[in-house]
Symmetry: C2
Subunit: 325 residues, 2 copies
């Protein structure tokens, strides 16, 4: 039983020595709790922000995880129950029915999808597209970080919702090609190659109707430039700035007035009521193979920090996950 | 018959020599048109932007105006008809029924109100409060440039809509006092005196629900800081930046994500469908005296440029108008 602790706060981009892999502490099973052996851990961009303050030094990181109950002192869970919880960054966690949730596995749906397109990642995409952007059939959608977890889920869900044209940005030619051939993105841009705003304008000559942003900075500015009058932006992250470089606020923000744009932020944790709808919507699509949960899987608990850093560098395609055991 | 032409483009703050008062040219009455003697001219912040490009050099400025038909070659208007049109900055204008609109004067409602709280100014306030912010009874509202035309109209309309607490900002202690004693603003801040964000937080200790912004810059940043989670911003201008100084984009824009804010721009010219509703809503309030159209009136066509410059300096309370004749 091991855990990974944050032992120093990153300055800029995190480094391996900000973390320490140590034997677990404080895993006390008391009545009403269950011991969970973790099977899958999620590493996500928002964790970089938590490391600046919300995560305690000397304590294990927190994160979404899936595991199997191996000991139970609660009538809610029998041994073998699969649960979701948010005490990741450790091989074993003690949970209560209040701090965890039973996963009902549908036939033909892989467990890991519950950390991917059916999990918080997919729910971020679904909330942005459905509740905030209210994407309409035939519309042109732009997705930043399109090859990442939220980005791939958004591209696949947007197609199911009838998007007319999907433009995605990513940081390499290989990922751009993959987005077009595998994920169904109509035009994938490599933002490291030439002007982003020029590429975006060429990819959407009539302008974009809606933008799902988890990058901020230059991407947000380019989208504001290319949005049609009355366009909408659903904003859920600014990964371009989490390591202290880059500027969130776009120079052309006043186009929000001139083009009557709507810029609206959202947090997936305040939109959990949409989860049953998402699972009902996607389960048959996953079962038929019409949709997959795009994932990059790293094997072994001791690889968690490496997986997190690789995700920050954009080395994953789809959701970055750590498989344990 | 005279007109005021833009003869050079302002660099920064406009000066009197950017303009020239000359005899009218091109006032040709042809079938289908009418000659209007203007009675009231409006001077507005947006005109500063027009002077950077949209207004032609050597041509008269454009702007909202009210006048009386003195000659008519159209069956739509008889001599004496009062019309609204957008060919201001001149003593006389030639209009068509398509480029103008008959004003139906209600008893007890002053004509000038049709350039004030019943005109584009009031419609900006109403659109922002009703359509964009969807202000709910009991909510706390912040209004920037509260002593100006849109600001005073917004404060009075918000009170009718049931706003719980109205906080307004202005640039002098005298105007702040006037806002509280005459306009019904609950707390008026002088942004030139101390920290704006600290004053705003003190005036709205539970946070603000909604913000009507026609200033941008530091005001927008302060509002973002003090808005409650889920708060809304209706953005219709950035007068703090029209003269080339100041920055539109707030440093704390990412709070839009962290607090799930909605920032939405609007242009009054795309919301003219709300005008009948506004006039129906306000006419009985104006007739009973429950609401007034706050105005600063400058007399004499030759004072138009002075009135415009004084408005840019914030010397008016309520809508700045020029009365002719």
């Amino acid at each position: 039983m091991r855990e990974i602790r944050l032992v120093s706060r990153p300055t800029g981009f995190p480094i391996a020595s900000n973390f320490e892999l140590v034997p677990s502490a404080g895993l006390e099973l008391v009545p009403g709790t269950a011991l969970v052996e973790n099977l899958w851990l999620s590493v996500d961009p928002y964790m970089r922000q938590m490391m600046d303050g919300l995560w305690s030094l000397g304590a294990p990181g927190e994160g979404r995880a899936l595991g199997r109950v191996v000991q139970s002192l609660t009538p809610a869970y029998e041994v073998g129950t699969i649960v979701f919880h948010t005490q990741g960054w450790r091989t074993h966690s003690v949970v209560t029915p209040e701090t965890s949730r039973r996963i009902d596995l549908a036939p033909g749906v892989p467990l890991s999808a519950h950390l991917g397109i059916l999990g918080g990642t997919g729910l971020s995409a679904y909330t942005g597209l459905k509740r905030i952007l209210q994407l309409q059939p035939g519309e042109t959608l732009f997705i930043s970080a399109a090859a990442g977890g939220v980005g791939t889920a958004a591209a696949r869900i947007a197609r199911l919702l009838g998007a007319g044209r999907i433009v995605g940005s990513t940081g390499s030619a290989v990922k751009a090609k993959w987005l077009e051939s595998e994920v169904g993105v109509d035009v994938a841009l490599n933002y490291r190659e030439g002007s982003l705003v020029d590429q975006l304008a060429a990819a959407a000559p009539d302008g974009i109707d809606a933008y799902l942003d988890n990058v901020g900075g230059e991407h947000l500015a380019a989208a504001i430039d290319v949005l049609k009058p009355g366009g909408r932006i659903a904003w859920c992250g600014a990964v371009s700035t989490y390591n202290g470089d880059g500027v969130v606020a776009p120079h052309n923000l006043f186009e929000v007035v001139e083009k009557e744009l709507r810029l609206e932020g959202f947090l997936v944790r305040n939109n959990l009521d949409l989860r049953p709808e998402l699972i009902e919507f996607l389960t048959p699509q996953l079962q038929s193979g019409a949709v997959v949960s795009d994932e990059t899987v790293v094997a072994g608990f001791e690889q968690t920090v490496d997986a997190f850093l690789a995700m920050l560098r954009g080395e994953n395609t789809g959701k970055m996950l750590v498989q344990l055991g």
